[in-house]
Each structure stands twice: as structure tokens, then as C-alpha cells.
């Protein structure tokens, strides 16, 4: 690989993908401009235009869905799939050919993420992609577009640049590993991962320049509230001081919540269509789609002009009945407030928990959308779960918004209102740290972080966002009829930093060579104080959850045994590696994550 010329930040989002880039300065003291890479993409059959956002949708068309040559791109004459705006728009008409929310599939533990399962519920004959391949297809489009637009010679090709790829803070070690695999599949072999909320905050630091030090102070606890099109993500950053300098540390991350702006618009559309049904107007799928778009526009209009009491929602008639077949309603401010603010951001107590999932006899195995759409209740739960002891409410002193939904001032106001109602009596008002561009911030921040890694600007300390364990048998007499009790052994603690390694010295395993080895791999986003080697009994009650299994087959003389210790390595690029190491001979075997359906195996002992 030649020396990179650019740092490229890619925000591989659930609904939109953005790429930003900055030239690596020859003089390290100078901060370069960060620019958005306008991505050429199909916007209609055979029409290529540039857009800031690449919608994260992939169309896998059948033989009769598109005219010949409709998917031709300047860099690929005979394309078989499309990514971007055209994929999204055409895919709405043929949903069984459309892959969406790829990223959420990537962290879905109930499916095999290397199996060709997408489009979910697609036709049998269709060329399907695995979640990893689908993510790779989006990245490949960006790489090809970059190489077409920007790369005059070999050294400027994207493969040879430094790439920062953002992932949700809630992504576990397996999903991160799969993201890196997807990038490698798209020929991007040198990527570094970064958490999205952190990236958004970096973008703010870049915008604020040196003034950011005046805008936050020692002791601040900043809540990053990122509500995008498809997912919501929370993180907490603590501001401390060491040696006269402000220090930023990410101290907690939330779970992956499948609720976002698209749900809100769809809920509005359903509310309006229910009204129509009452008055006898039934909508077909095409009209429903039109209603969805119209509701989004009406919502944005109401949110951006605080004086308007209502905004029209119009569905034009199809074909020649444009005016005659038109359906017209209006969306009132009360309705929007009721559906969006009270439905998704209700005022609630800080002790509330999200409503439990309604149990159906047979749960459909699709993406597990949140059964409780109330973002504020998820927020309350997030804060209360991460408080260090029973009574010490973790009170944010400032909040930083990101994501398209947060463009609406009334939504931001509502969250501030709720946070202020939760704060302890002696606490000051929770203030808002104003972000500049909510759609593009993550990609820009990722590029900024690339510069930070080269020694310019402040770095948020973070490390692992979760603690990881493996399941081992407890040394207790077995009781017939009951499963043998197990313990969780901490192998990688919360906050373990990139580029460090640790060895679990307390526990040795004796493994048989030539036979598959399997460990149950567990995670916890709550236990933040466990150290390497610590064991937790009755772990299921202590907030530790099974994640997947770790597997390998030891090579060597079959049938012999070898004593090993576990070694954990948090790589520079932000992934987790677990190795079996034989202390006597120094031989090492890497344990691989199982990315198939959640597997079970008995803990080795």
C-alpha cells in the first residue's frame, strides 16, 4: 500500500451513507478542510447524478424489472444490482427485490449473517445477498465512485487511502468484526472503526475550533442523543481535567434501538389513513406510499414554521385522474404533537422502563423493531441502567443532538424538557450543545478523527463499549436433572483501549488437539467494573447476556492435549481478537466468532 493522500470518513448508516474526506496535510500543524464526497449514483433507470447522501438501499432486480442497460454505471457497464436513490425509489414499487436496513441485519444475532438471506422475504429465484455482502455492496459502490471521480492515478484510489468507518456505539464485537469483513470484501483492507455518536461529537469539535474548550467544562456529563432514520443510539461522555487540559471520556453506550424517523413518518401516515378509513376512503399501497411522503413534508413544514396550525397532506390521483382522484386532508399541529411528541418522545418518569414486547404465539423472524417506540423511555432506562449505585441518578449536564429527526426544534425542546424534569433538585439546567449539520456530521467527524489519530486535536477516550466474558463450568457437584451451574469469566473489560492486550492468567484450559473447541461468549453493557480474570457466578441474573460462540480447531498431533491461557487483543482498528496461547511453547490459535444463528456450546474446562 502506498502512503495515503486522503483520510476518508464513511458513515455507513441504516438509511443513508455519507463519505467525507480531508487531505492529509504535509505540515502537521495545519488543519485541513473536511469536504463531503458527492457520490454519483443512479437516480432513475440509466440516469446518474451526484448526491451528498447515498441511500443505503440495494436493488436486486429480476429479469423483467428494468430495461436493458438501466443499471449501467460509468465504471460498470453490466451492473446486476443498484445502490442508492434509484434502488430506494424503484424498490418501493417492488419491495421483494429491495434490501434495506442492512446494518441492522449485520447485528441481528438470530440469523446467519454470512447466509444469502436478503432481500428478506424475497423471491426464491432472486439472487440474494448475505448481510455482510449487502454492506460490502454499498461500500463497493462508494469505492468505485471515488476511484472514478477522484483517482487520477493509483496512489489516489480509495484502497490506498486511510479509511475511518463508523459503526453504532451499540455494535458488539461480532458486528464490528463483520463490518471489517464487509469492508475487506469491498477491497477496503485498511479501515479503522469509530463509534457514530463519538464521530458526531468530533464534527462539533472541528466546527467549534478552539472555542469548544469554552463551551464545555470540567465535570460535564454530555449525553449524545442520535436519532436517525432507522435507529437510535445513546452515549455518555464525561469531561474531566488532567494537567490543565480538558479530557473527554466516553463512559457508557446504549443498546441498538430499531426506532427512528422513518417509523415516525409511517406512524403519521397510518394515523391519517385511519381518519380516511373512518370517512370511507381506503388507500392502496401506491397511495399509502404517497401519503407517507406527503406526511413527511407536512411534518417538516409544521416543525420548521412554529406559527402554522396545519399543513396540507395531498395524495394526487394516479394516472389521468390527477385532480379528480385527489385525496386531500390536512395534518394539524395537534396531531403531529400527539403522534410524534407524545408517541415517540412522551414525558415520562426517569425510573420508567420501555414496555415489554407483546408476546405472539409465533414471533416472525424479521428485524426486531422496538415494541415500545418511546425514545424517552429508552433514554430513561439507559440512564438508570448505567448509574453506578442505586440512588445516584446519572444526570447529564448537557445534551448533544444528532440525526435527521433532531432537526425539529420541538423534538429537541421536548427532550430537554424531559431531561430537566429528571435532574436532581440541586442540579443546574441541562443545556443543549448546538450541532451544525445533523445529516453529514458523522462522516465529517470520522474524517476529523482520522486527523486526530495522526496527532492533531483532542481524542475522546473510549475503548470497548461493553465487557466480554466466556462461560466456564463452576466447580460444584452436579445435581442430576439440573444443568450444571456455570460462571462467567471476564476476558475483556469495559473501556479496554485500542491497541492493548491482556492475558487471562487465572484460568488455564486443557484443550484436545484436532477437535473443535467451543466457548460460549457473553457480553454485558452494564457491568463496567469487572477486571480481566474476574468470575461472576449466576451471571444471567447479573446483567450478562449470551452473545455467540467462539470456535477453533487446534492443529497439531491429534488426540494430544495442550494447556492454554486466553489472550485478548483490542486491535488498533477497533475489533476484538481472542487467542488461545500455550504458555510453554508460545503457540497461538485464534478463536473465531460464530456469526451463524446464536449457537450453544458447553463451556470448556
Amino acid at each position: 500500500m502506498s502512503e495515503p493522500v486522503y483520510i476518508i470518513g464513511i458513515d455507513l448508516g441504516t438509511t443513508n451513507t455519507v463519505a467525507a474526506y480531508a487531505e492529509i496535510p504535509a505540515d502537521p500543524g495545519r488543519a485541513p478542510d473536511i469536504r463531503i464526497f458527492r457520490i454519483p449514483q443512479l437516480v432513475d433507470a440509466g440516469v446518474i447524478e451526484k448526491r451528498d447522501l447515498l441511500p443505503s438501499f440495494i436493488l436486486v432486480p429480476g429479469p423483467h424489472d428494468l430495461p436493458d442497460g438501466a443499471l449501467a454505471l460509468p465504471w460498470e457497464e453490466q451492473g446486476t444490482t443498484a445502490a442508492g436513490e434509484f434502488a430506494r425509489n424503484r424498490g418501493a414499487e417492488i419491495p421483494h427485490r429491495l434490501i434495506s436496513s442492512t446494518k441492522s441485519w449485520l447485528c441481528h444475532t438470530l440469523v446467519d449473517r454470512n447466509a444469502k438471506i436478503l432481500p428478506w422475504q424475497g423471491l426464491k429465484d432472486a439472487g440474494k445477498l448475505s448481510p455482510v455482502e449487502a454492506s460490502a455492496a454499498i461500500l463497493r459502490h462508494i469505492r468505485n465512485a471515488w476511484n472514478h471521480e477522484m483517482a487520477g492515478d493509483e496512489t489516489l484510489r480509495m484502497e490506498n487511502q486511510e479509511i475511518l468507518l463508523t459503526v453504532p456505539a451499540s455494535f458488539d464485537a461480532v458486528a464490528r468484526e463483520l463490518t471489517v469483513q464487509a469492508a475487506a470484501m469491498a477491497d477496503l483492507k485498511h479501515v479503522t472503526l469509530l463509534e457514530e455518536p463519538q464521530a458526531a461529537f468530533y464534527a462539533w469539535i472541528d466546527d467549534a475550533g478552539d472555542r469548544w474548550r469554552e463551551m464545555v467544562k470540567k465535570g460535564d456529563l454530555i449525553l449524545i442523543c442520535d436519532v436517525g432514520g432507522g435507529t437510535s443510539d445513546f452515549s455518555l461522555i464525561r469531561v474531566s481535567e488532567s494537567g490543565g487540559n480538558l479530557d473527554l471520556e466516553r463512559i457508557a453506550v446504549g443498546d441498538h434501538l430499531l426506532v427512528g424517523g422513518d417509523n415516525m413518518d409511517l406512524t403519521l401516515a397510518h394515523a391519517v389513513s385511519l381518519q380516511m378509513a373512518v370517512s370511507g376512503t381506503r388507500l392502496d399501497a401506491w397511495q399509502m406510499n404517497g401519503l407517507w411522503h406527503s406526511c413527511r413534508q407536512a411534518k417538516e413544514k409544521l416543525f420548521s414554521s412554529p406559527d402554522a396550525a396545519e399543513a396540507p397532506v395531498t395524495i394526487l390521483g394516479r394516472g389521468s385522474g390527477l385532480i379528480g382522484g385527489m385525496i386531500r386532508r390536512s395534518l394539524t399541529r395537534d396531531q403531529v404533537d400527539q403522534v410524534i411528541l407524545d408517541g415517540f418522545f412522551p414525558v415520562c418518569e426517569r425510573t420508567e422502563k420501555p414496555g415489554a414486547a407483546r408476546k405472539h404465539g409465533i414471533q416472525e423472524l424479521g428485524l426486531s423493531y422496538e415494541s415500545d417506540p418511546a425514545v424517552t423511555r429508552h433514554l430513561a432506562y439507559f440512564l438508570s441502567r448505567h448509574q453506578t449505585d442505586e440512588n445516584a441518578y446519572l444526570s447529564p449536564t448537557a445534551v448533544f443532538f444528532n440525526g435527521g429527526v433532531m432537526k425539529a426544534p420541538s423534538v429537541r425542546r421536548r427532550i430537554l424538557e424531559v431531561l430537566n424534569a429528571w435532574r436532581p433538585e440541586d442540579g443546574g439546567l441541562v443545556r443543549e450543545i448546538a450541532a451544525t449539520d445533523l445529516d453529514l456530521a458523522v462522516a465529517r467527524g470520522a474524517a476529523y478523527y482520522g486527523l486526530v489519530r495522526r496527532g492533531q486535536g483532542i481524542r475522546i477516550r473510549g475503548g470497548l463499549g461493553k465487557s466480554y466474558y466466556i462461560e466456564i463450568g463452576a466447580s460444584m457437584p452436579a445435581v442430576p436433572g439440573l444443568p450444571a451451574p456455570t460462571k462467567a469469566l471476564c476476558v475483556a473489560p469495559f473501556g479496554m483501549e485500542e491497541g492493548t492486550r491482556a492475558r487471562v492468567a487465572e484460568q488455564r484450559f486443557v484443550l484436545i488437539v484436532g477437535e473443535p473447541v467451543c466457548f460460549a461468549f457473553l457480553e454485558s453493557s452494564l457491568r463496567r467494573k469487572d477486571a480481566v480474570g474476574q468470575t461472576v457466578e449466576d451471571w444471567e441474573a447479573e446483567g450478562i447476556e449470551p452473545l455467540t460462540t467462539l470456535e477453533t480447531t487446534l492443529d497439531g498431533e491429534a488426540g494430544t492435549t495442550v494447556p492454554v491461557a486466553l489472550e485478548v487483543n483490542v486491535t488498533e482498528i477497533g475489533t476484538l481478537e481472542i487467542w488461545c496461547v500455550c504458555p510453554e511453547t508460545g503457540r497461538r490459535w485464534k478463536l473465531e466468532f460464530n456469526v451463524r444463528e446464536k449457537g450453544q456450546c458447553l463451556g470448556a474446562s
Binding site: 454519483p40 437516480v43 432513475d44 433507470a45 440509466g46 440516469v47 446518474i48 447524478e49 451526484k50 430495461p67 436493458d68 442497460g69 438501466a70 449501467a72 454505471l73 460509468p74 406527503s294 413534508q297 396540507p312 395531498t314 394526487l316 394516472g319 389521468s320 390527477l322 385532480i323 379528480g324 385527489m326 386531500r328
Partner: protein, 252 residues
């Protein structure tokens, strides 16, 4: 082409001549040497058996050869030489002429797209498609053509108004994206402005009492429009250039 031919033909003539002279000299020398040898053998034969009839006839023939060859032989060879040079020269020249003609024909056809009939047709089709493209987007996102195709007499003003709001909003967004139009004059309508000497007559249209030389004083009646940013799309695929929007058929 004629130039090359003019330069080439004397050279060809000279080279052919030179080669032929050398060739002829070689043949002459060989013939002379051979004849001498033959004569020597003949004299020896005559000495050995002078009475033989055959020997005498042979000796006479040798004497005839020795007398005639240098004169008639040289003349005949000279004629043959001239004829050969002439023939080779003419043949070489005509071959070159033909070669030059075809190669010039080839190189004088430029390999630019657009000059062959097919390329030209493709370019015209692409231009036509690009010309209709904006209309195609206005229809797709704003239903503009559907609106034009409506018979407005059949509807109430309020109904039309409601539809227009929607169409206006969507079409406006398309126009903003593709053209980003903005006024030519930054000042507000109704303001008075001075038109300086050397103004751009295509951007400012003067009406009313225009007499004498600038500067003129006048009032802005229309601010004009110009495109802010034009970003042309790239079009690919062999779609019919005249197509604006495809028909939609729902498969049950």
C-alpha cells in the same frame, strides 16, 4: 501524396538502374570468362586432333562467337537492361501509388465519435434525451405532465388549487436541485438603478425611453433569472430518446 510520388520515382529509377548495371556487369564478366575458357579448350582440341570434321566446325563456331558476341550481345544486353529498368520502375511506382492512396484514405478518416452515421445518431439521441430529461424528472417527482394533460374546466378552482400546491412544491424542489435559479438583479423590484456604460445587453433588457448614451437611470420591473448551478446528469442505457415517463402496469 503527389509529393511523395515525385520524390520517390527518380530514386526508384536510379536504384533500379544501379542494381541492373551491377547485375549486367556480373553477367557480362561471367560470359566473357566462360567464353575465354571455352576458346582455350577449343584451341587445345584443335591441336590434339586437327583433322576431325567436328573439331573444325566447333572451332569455326568459336571464332564466330568471339567476333559477334562483344558487339551484338552487348547491344542486346543493353536493350534488355533499359527495358527491365523501365518495367520495374513503372511497376514499383504504380504499386506505391496504390498503397499511398489506401493509407491516405484510412488516415484521413478521423476516429472521433460522431462522424460515422451511427455515432452521429447516438449523439443526437443523447442530446434529445438530455433535453427531455428535466421534463422527465418534473413528471416523475412533480407530476407536471399529468397536470398539463388535465382538463381544468372540469374542476372547481379550490380543487385545482389544492393539487397545484403539491405540484408546485415538488416541481420547485426539482428546479432548485437542477438549476438553482436566482435573480439577475440583486436589488428589489421597483428600485431605481443606474445602467453603466458597457453593460451586458443580453443580461439587461432596456425598455421605454432609451436615447443617447449610458449611464441610464431606470426602475427594475423584472429582476430576471439565471441558473445558479447546472449539474448535468450522466445518462446511460439505450432507452428511447423520446420517452418521458414509462407506462405503469401493476401485476396482480
Amino acid at each position: 501524396m503527389d509529393d511523395i510520388l515525385k520524390k520517390f520515382s527518380p530514386r526508384l529509377f536510379f536504384i533500379t538502374g544501379l542494381i541492373m548495371i551491377l547485375l549486367l556487369a556480373g553477367i557480362g564478366a561471367t560470359a566473357y570468362f566462360g567464353l575465354n575458357q571455352l576458346d582455350l579448350r577449343a584451341s587445345a582440341l584443335l591441336g590434339a586432333c586437327p583433322e576431325s570434321e567436328a573439331t573444325r566446325a566447333f572451332s569455326d563456331f568459336m571464332i564466330f562467337l568471339k567476333e559477334t558476341m562483344p558487339i551484338y550481345g552487348a547491344a542486346a544486353a543493353g536493350m534488355a537492361f533499359l527495358l527491365a529498368v523501365l518495367l520495374i520502375w513503372i511497376a514499383g511506382r504504380s504499386v506505391l501509388k496504390g498503397l499511398l492512396k489506401t493509407s491516405v484514405q484510412k488516415s484521413s478518416v478521423p476516429k472521433k465519435p460522431g462522424d460515422s452515421k451511427q455515432d452521429r445518431q447516438e449523439r443526437i439521441a443523447a442530446d434529445r434525451r438530455l433535453y427531455l430529461h428535466l421534463l422527465s424528472v418534473l413528471q416523475r417527482e412533480g407530476r407536471l405532465l399529468d397536470f398539463f394533460a388535465e382538463d381544468l374546466a372540469a374542476y372547481e378552482d379550490a380543487q385545482i388549487g389544492a393539487a397545484v400546491r403539491n405540484i408546485h412544491e415538488n416541481c420547485r424542489r426539482v428546479i432548485d436541485r437542477y438549476v438553482g435559479f436566482r435573480p439577475v438583479m440583486e436589488q428589489a423590484e421597483g428600485q431605481s438603478v443606474t445602467v453603466e456604460q458597457g453593460f451586458d445587453a443580453s443580461a439587461l433588457k432596456l425598455t421605454g425611453n432609451v436615447a443617447g448614451e449610458p449611464p441610464f437611470r431606470g426602475t427594475i420591473r423584472h429582476r430576471g433569472w439565471k441558473a445558479g448551478n447546472i449539474e448535468l446528469p450522466e445518462l446511460s442505457g439505450g432507452r428511447d430518446a423520446g420517452l418521458i415517463a414509462p407506462a405503469e402496469i401493476e401485476i396482480a
